[in-house]
Amino acid sequence: MRLGRLLMTLFFLAGAVIAVVFNVGKPTLLVLHSYGDDYVWTREVDVGLRRVLGSASGINVHYHYMHTKRFGDREALRRAGIAARDAIDRIGPDVLLAIDDSAQLLAARFYVDHPSLRIVFAGLNGGVEEYGYDKAANVTGILERKPAKALKELLLALARDKGIARPSTLYLADTTHSAALDGQHLAGFDWGEVNYRPARFVSDFQAWQQAIHELSDELDFLLVGGYRQLQRSPTDPRLVPATEVMAWTEAHATMPVIGMNAFNTEDGATLSIGVSPYEQGEWAARTALAILAGTAANRIPMVESTQYVVAVRRSALERRGLNLPTVYEAFARATNNFFP
């Protein structure tokens, strides 16, 4: 009886030791998203991450969503930042994958040069200097740069078809931090034969509608990106659903509406050329695994996005009489971004 008890005690002790040793030695990744998992960009970045992490075994992966797209006011950002830092401290990851700008601004930058935590950023629209990443020993990542060159090629192709020699365009967006950074990036690009005018930022749907009416006679093409933080009116703080903004815009804008994310077309825009969320996720996950395998973060160079995706809404193209080179439609169909 006593021997049985002793053996049982040994069995449980051995089990406990194995469980603890196995878990203590298991590396931990924390994916910190700036937005929510109800946001299509975030979901698709996750698809890219899981493509790579799904085949890696023996790793704990945690996800934390900050929802700063849905709740972007100052107080909500403060709370989201505290909760994100709390998650980092509680989970104690070996590698933090911080996705999009808010995650850097509100959480990841506080762990620059942390002794045991490495940071891989992705979806970063702005520069790395403002977060101190340029001089950090524990940070690397992939910058999200709007595919200005591809956009320019598309605008020129559409303009040629319509007989416009020097097409004019402008970026219209809400007043979020990431939209402002996108605006800066586009303003710094050499647009050549395209007449790119300074970006315009509005804070509410009424101002958006007014801008569309004003610009309809002035522009050949309208570029849109961030519009999820538009409040209903200056006095009504409720956010207008993205699909409502795009449906109204597509119905009232006389010029074609071109999105800078694939999901803009899902919302209602005529067509879109956007950074590939899969590339962002895949690159970040591959880099995290390399770091876990022993490569120092600062030995892995920071890179810019190189891949993009195309989305097409055929009904809007037909209504506007636009003829796209067939390769765009084929690409959109192949990546499930074609809408009838």
């Binding site: 406990a16 969503y65 929802h67 709370r79 505290i82």
Partner: protein, 609 residues
């Protein structure tokens, strides 16, 4: 004198229609027959005296009895001696015949089996006993119950139909699954509100309807049974079985009484601290009452001097100790696990046991401070009762050294706490640590097969799993977002003016609690407001915590089952005769919003608000 039946027919048909025997199943009544005996009393003959050992319950077949308790006298023509069904050792009051009286005697052992097989009978017997203790006359249960039940079932049919009809043209067109879910939910809410069925049954019926109508696949509907909340609840229930059955809590109280001075302040501190210490480890207020109330009774019986005022104060202290902080710990009440299960997965990760307690700590401390104020205001007295120290020492000596079961309870508790604190190091999530502790307790026999089957509240675990599954279905069909668009006013208060929202919530819960029991109130409020909070960007844990905190208040005895239980057990304290209880609980309820407001800066600091 008792007379065996000698093969003569016993008039058992009296039992079939007599409340509360009418709540029992016929087979269980049939099994009583061999144990029954007849007894006849002459006028003024005593049936039993105050303090006599409990042997049987008596059903009056003819004649009339007089019940005497203290100075009160009451005539009785139905039952006497409910103590026998409540497993009490001694009679509380005396009974004698007023005229020639024929009685049917049901031995305590047989009655105990009947009560175990028929939970409703046991509850009704307890209720009847409590009314006798509080001096109330016998209520006419069946007509009132029948009316309520009839009304309830009528609403259970009409309310879902009304919901379906009113939303068919709007929601029915765009989202038929959401409409069906709301219709099913409406039926379940009515069943809970009217207590038509045991609380887990409507949840199971709703789950069944969700799957049969194709609203959500079975793996989502049943996901609650694989959730972290379910695993933690099961494990904590198991740990509390060991702590309760080992006598650890009794030792704790004796130890507190022994180390402190022989003063009434210290007695109050010891009783209150014992209740508070049990709060996070015994996940039921009734469970804590069943541990602490007998200790209080024992304590008061050993007082050398002392009157009713200090006895009543100690009774209130004891009851407050076991109930005041029920919302402050995840594991202090089963229903807390339901609210935990309603939280979004990310919030569940954040508000595990330790963080929950930390986030609630300021509210808890301010509530204790305000309770002390209210206590001093209403219960201050000059009495100086004393407990002889040697009694406590003898009791502790009799307990002997700490038993293996007590060590096991302590070790399990310690392991759980250490694992909470060191999660960052071992990377094992709390539910799995808790399950490991439960497995260990089972393997080493600290919980045996019978205890595992009988002392873990499986009906509640089914309720919990079903509710968490229903919440997952609610999110899946988008009812949470649909509700958000319809609760604009509430949303505006919750997001823009949380201070006003706190008051509105406290007032609403206070009013609803007049009619509904605690669990039904919490389930209804939490199922609407917790997912709603997540959608509008307010911390879902905070809203869930406030619902739990405000719903715990009660003013009248019927509002809290643990209070009824307390009055039944702690007879020496005579809590039922305490007229200050209503103002005491009113002031305590009023102090709760104050404690919440005091915690707002702390919550802002934590980023919860």
């Amino acid at each position: 004198m008792n007379a065996p039946t000698d093969g003569r027919a016993v008039p058992v048909e009296r039992l079939v229609d007599l409340f509360p025997f009418s709540l029992c199943s016929r087979p269980s009544l049939a099994r009583l027959v061999p144990s029954l005996t007849l007894r006849t009393l002459a006028p003024n003959e005593r049936l039993y005296g105050d303090g006599d050992p409990v042997d049987a319950l008596y059903v009056v077949l003819s004649g009339e009895l007089e019940l005497r308790r203290g100075k009160s006298r009451r005539r009785e023509i139905a039952l006497a001696g409910e103590e026998a069904g409540l497993e009490l050792a001694r009679r509380d009051g005396a009974v004698q015949a007023l005229s020639t009286t024929r009685l049917l005697a049901i031995p305590a052992e047989a009655l105990s089996v009947l009560a175990t097989d028929n939970a409703a009978f046991r509850r009704a017997l307890l209720d009847r006993f409590c009314q006798r203790e509080s001096g109330e006359g016998q209520r006419v249960h069946r007509p009132r119950g029948a009316l309520r039940e009839g009304l309830g079932w009528l609403f259970a049919v009409l309310f879902p139909v009304a919901i379906y009809a009113s939303l068919q043209n709007s929601l029915g067109q765009s989202d038929p699954e959401a409409l069906l879910f709301l219709t099913i939910g409406a039926a379940a809410v009515v069943m809970w509100a009217f207590s038509l069925l045991p609380e887990f049954v409507p949840a199971l019926l709703a789950l069944l309807a969700v799957v049969l109508l194709g609203i959500a696949p079975a793996e989502i509907a049943l996901s609650g049974f694989a959730s972290q909340g379910f695993v933690v609840a099961l494990s904590i229930f198991g740990l509390s079985v060991v702590i309760r059955s080992s006598g650890l809590s009794y030792r704790l109280l004796l130890w507190l009484l022994r180390i402190g001075p022989a003063s009434k302040v210290w007695y109050r501190i010891a009783l209150f601290a014992t209740g508070v210490a049990l709060t996070p480890i015994v996940p039921s207020a009734n469970g804590r009452v069943s541990i602490v109330a007998p200790l209080l009774t024992d304590l008061l019986r050993t007082f050398e001097h002392g009157g009713d005022r200090e006895r009543q104060r100690l009774a209130v202290t004891t009851l407050t100790g076991v109930s005041l902080l029920s919302a402050a710990f995840l594991s202090s009440k089963s229903i807390n696990f339901v609210v935990f299960g309603f939280l979004p997965a990310q919030e569940q990760m954040r508000f595990q046991w330790l963080t929950w307690a930390y986030a609630a700590s300021v509210v808890a401390l301010v509530t204790i401070a305000l309770y002390c104020l209210v206590d001093a205001l209403l219960y201050r007295n000059a009495e100086r009762p004393q407990l002889p120290k040697q009694v406590v020492a003898q009791q502790l000596a009799l307990l002997g050294p700490v038993s293996r079961a007590e060590w096991a309870g302590l070790a399990g508790l310690l392991a759980l706490i250490v694992s909470f604190v060191t999660t960052t190091l071992h990377h094992i999530e709390v539910p799995w640590v808790a399950l490991a502790i439960l497995s260990w307790l089972l393997a080493f026999g600290f919980i045996d097969r019978a205890q595992f089957r009988e002392r873990i509240d499986w009906s509640f675990l089914v309720f919990l799993g079903a509710l968490i599954g229903l919440m997952a279905v609610m999110r899946q069909v988008g009812v949470d977002h649909w509700m958000t668009n319809r609760l604009d006013l509430l949303g505006a208060q919750m997001t823009n003016n949380f201070e006003i929202f706190i008051l509105l919530l406290a007032a609403a819960i206070f009013l609803v609690r007049i009619a509904l029991p605690i669990n039904a109130t919490i389930v209804i409020f939490a199922s609407i407001l917790v997912p709603y909070a997540a959608v509008v960007g307010v911390n879902a844990w905070l809203v869930g915590f406030l619902i739990l905190f405000f719903a715990e208040s009660f003013i009248l005895p019927y509002q809290a089952s643990y209070y009824l239980q307390f009055t039944a057990i702690s007879d020496a304290a005579q809590p039922a005769q305490d007229l200050r209880l209503i103002p005491f609980h009113l002031l305590l309820a009023a102090s709760k919003p104050v404690a919440v407001y005091a915690s707002i800066p702390f919550w802002r600091e934590l980023g919860i608000l």
